[in-house]
Amino acid sequence: MALIERPAPALIPAVATPSSSYGVFRRPVETTGWKSWVFTIDHKKLGIMYGVAALFFFLVGGVEALLIRAQLAGPNGTILSADKYNQMFTMHATTMVFLFVMPMAAAFGNYFLPLQIGARDVAFPRINAFGFWCFLFGAIFINTSWFLGGAADGGWFMYAPNSSVPFSPTNGIDFWGVGLQITGIASLTGAINLIVTVLNMRAPGMSLMKMPIFTWMILVVQFLLLFAIPVITVALFLLMFQRSFGATFFSVEAGADPLLWQHLFWIFGHPEVYILILPSFGIVSEVLPVFSKKPLFGYPLVVFSGCAIGFVGWGVWAHHMFASGLGPISVAVFSVSTMAIALPTGVKIVNWTLTMWGGKIRFTTAMLFAIGLIVQFTIGGLSGVTHAVAPSDTQQTDTYYIVAHFHYVLFGGAVLGIFSGLYYWWPKIFGKLLSERLGKWNFWLMVVGMNMTFGPMHILGLQGQPRRMYVWTENRAGDGFFDLGFWNLISSIGAAVLGIGVLLFFINVFISRKHAPAPLDPWDARSLEWMTTNPPKEHNFDQVPTVHHLDEFFHRKYEDRGTEDHHDYHQIATAEEIMADQEANADKHIHLPSPSYWPIVLAFSLPVMGYGVIFNKFMIPVGATLLLLSMFGWSMEPHTASEADYDPPTPEGGAELEVVSHG
């Protein structure tokens, strides 16, 4: 049962009846079929598309990782050439960072942020759609380089001058640089959109300190993106000017300073690390309380520590450059600031643990992934402290010890958090529970796999194996059974285990399509996104809830009938009852924006210009024209379709609300 978002005629401003003003096209109004996806501006559909694309690129990046580990399983590997290997690790990192974890956070953010704050959509739905298409086209653009002369081969950090044409004459780096600018637009527009959504569209009563912690973390991430993306944009523009337009920003022979790139890259790159990890922190901060049946311990402090990470994250970038010759004073300062950022991060670990302390813990797959994150991320965090100590870092940087560190942080942190979120929210998004049994296999294989893969890398690194080497040789591998060859082999086997673990997730998804519909509130959850149907209706809530508590949903279901010292919680309402109450008091005149052609058309103009930069400069004005035309069409288009666009049109004076069944 749902109310469809047919606009109430009275709401269309009288001055703007522009059904003819954007030319010959009828506006898309489809609610089913491929058009309902391609032209959608619904935050939930966009969230799903972000997720599907991100998981696809997760597989792509995973295959790249498996090839890397296959190459390094034994000495003098021959599976990949040096050239292909360099492309492989560059694209593995690029794919995982920009095309998997970031869009995955965008997927969860898009889908759940409006639901968590009790909003009907995001602030700028069309810009939201535009962002998604920018991401997708940018991602495809980067990956077409595989078929057009080879992918980027300079590492994801793309240090100058190794990124200049004489050192990398294929177009790979051009694809990389232009493609990331396009996906950068997605991040920037997404950031503005979600910040405005959070600041402006919270349900009545939801003050900032009553906001779900996931929403808080996404908000911090959007601010990080807002200020980090322009910095990498500058760097990427300089790189593009250098490679394609004859500028000399990184030409040492012209007097350039290669450290300029490093500073620009890491001023972006370190906040980027928190951009990757904070969404997952937010997810487990939702999951742990639900399955411990306790509120998040120290909620205000978790919020403040998230913000603190957001601020201090800007002051630590040079710890990526301890070996690059900054001078002892800078090194000492950044060393101390890097240690300082361990504090707010530690606060989170402590608070998660104390959330479980005294709880009533249920070991669902989502919870296992969340606990897995605490343990695995702690390992990564502690190894991080060891290289905040700059002198130790000069031994560890650019070795496998660092590879181990950031995989514990990013796989053990970001990815386990994402999987926790997938298992937790799957019934909300698709109305089907994933199998817990398969889920547990999924979890344990992934955790065992990741520890087998990345654990030995600590040893490899501390015993002197540098990163980014397409082969390792026996004469630097030491003696004895447990030589570096042994650990390399274990790591490669672990990668296979990890791969099987990830595969189980997709099998689980495939099987779940036949499951019975999930219960309305399968986890006895606490926050607003569960106070609607599974999956949510297009307008999210029949009645926008008024919020009185953090964990509003929990407090609507339970009541404390105990005393100050002895608490005694009783269930006073089921989820079904709460939902029925909402439906009974449904808001009228629900008025959602209509689908639009322009976001995808506008986004499409960007790769056209991108190919122009690389292959034929005449394509740039073609793309630019398309860009301007679609911007014009966009600005002429009202938020909602005119009645004439519906087929058949609503009869004059007909029902304002139409009730249809909604799958």
Binding site: V331, F363, V389, Q463, G464, P466, Y470, D479, F482, Y569
Partner: protein
Amino acid sequence: MSNSTSLVPKVLTSSMPDVNPRTRRVKRGLFAVASVLALSACAQNAPQDTWKPKGENAQKIQDLQWWVFLIAGIVGVLVFGAVLYCVIKYRDKGQPIPEQTHGKAWLEYAFIAGPALLLTFVAVPTITTVIDLNKTDDATCFINVTGQQWWWEFDYPVAADGTICGYAPTGDALPIVTSGQMVIPADTKVVIRGTSRDVIHSFWVPALNGKRDMVPGRVHTWRFHANEPGIFAGQCAEFCGLSHANMRMEIVALSPADFTTWLDGQLAPYQAPEADTLAATGEATFIAQCSRCHQVDGMTDADGEPVIAAPEQFVWSGAAPNLSHLMSRNTFAGGTWDLLTEDCRADVWGASPDEFGAKYLAGVSDECLNEIDLKEWLRDAPSKKPMFADPEELTETDGKTRGMPYLALSEDQINELVAYLETRK
């Protein structure tokens, strides 16, 4: 309660192994045993082990880091212990819904203050060590280091007082240019002044110090000191393109007497091979094929004119290794392959500090020469070590190669060249 809660027991009683505290405890135990095993059973004698300092700079790092690792380890165990405790103690056994509290502020502050104090203890010695490791004013030996794709060049300037690296050679002091292996006097404070001719490289010999990037257009200094004579493995640690994996070097420390001997050897005048030997033919082949890029000091052509290499015309970085005394070092091609056969190499690398100098200074004898790799290299260098030398792909580099190209040498020419190179002691 609604149907939502009925799902919970199903989950709890699921047959998956994690929920049973006993199996979980066993698992933890195994994990602990495994980690101890892992740490104690690491590779022996890994030449680039960062935890086996052999000089005072690396020792300073070691003194600083072992207890940071210890603290990290203890904190880790505490966190895992707490998580484990929660997981066992507070699993859902049907207890009532716990108090819906956000916790106590004082506990929060304690958990911030504690780590903050701990980090202060780490931060202070970190700062002093950073400053210590960046000193340059107490060195007695200076060596210039230049990285390029994909090898290291070392040149030893002559100081105003006629010494090289603090030692006076027997004859006239002239600058020495060598590559692959940096020879230093043992127990001496050495400062390298490093840069690069193309992309960023990083100089790293873990037994003696951490790494320092060598950046084109900048000169970076870095300290080295070796307690005793010996050979210490290192490797370029900053990704530098195609053959980054094949860019290695060693630091060789010699006793003062041995170091002077080494200086004399490097400064010995050119000795042409005896006429009518294979090596003499090799000299002519070398002049025809190799001397475009590779300098051999003092070599003259058939007319008696000095042969001067001009690598800047052929190589993008503008330099190629100086081969005057190739056989005095024991690796080639960016330190990636040994000039010594396996047994001879083991003899030198495994020598005690007392015996090391003599064995190293013996150089590569005829019976110890690893002809296989050297010939393979001469036959087709780019297929042995990935380099950017395909003539069809050089438009972006003005026809210059990065690394050594394929030279289409015949087997005879290769034999001649090997014979000639063997005489470059």
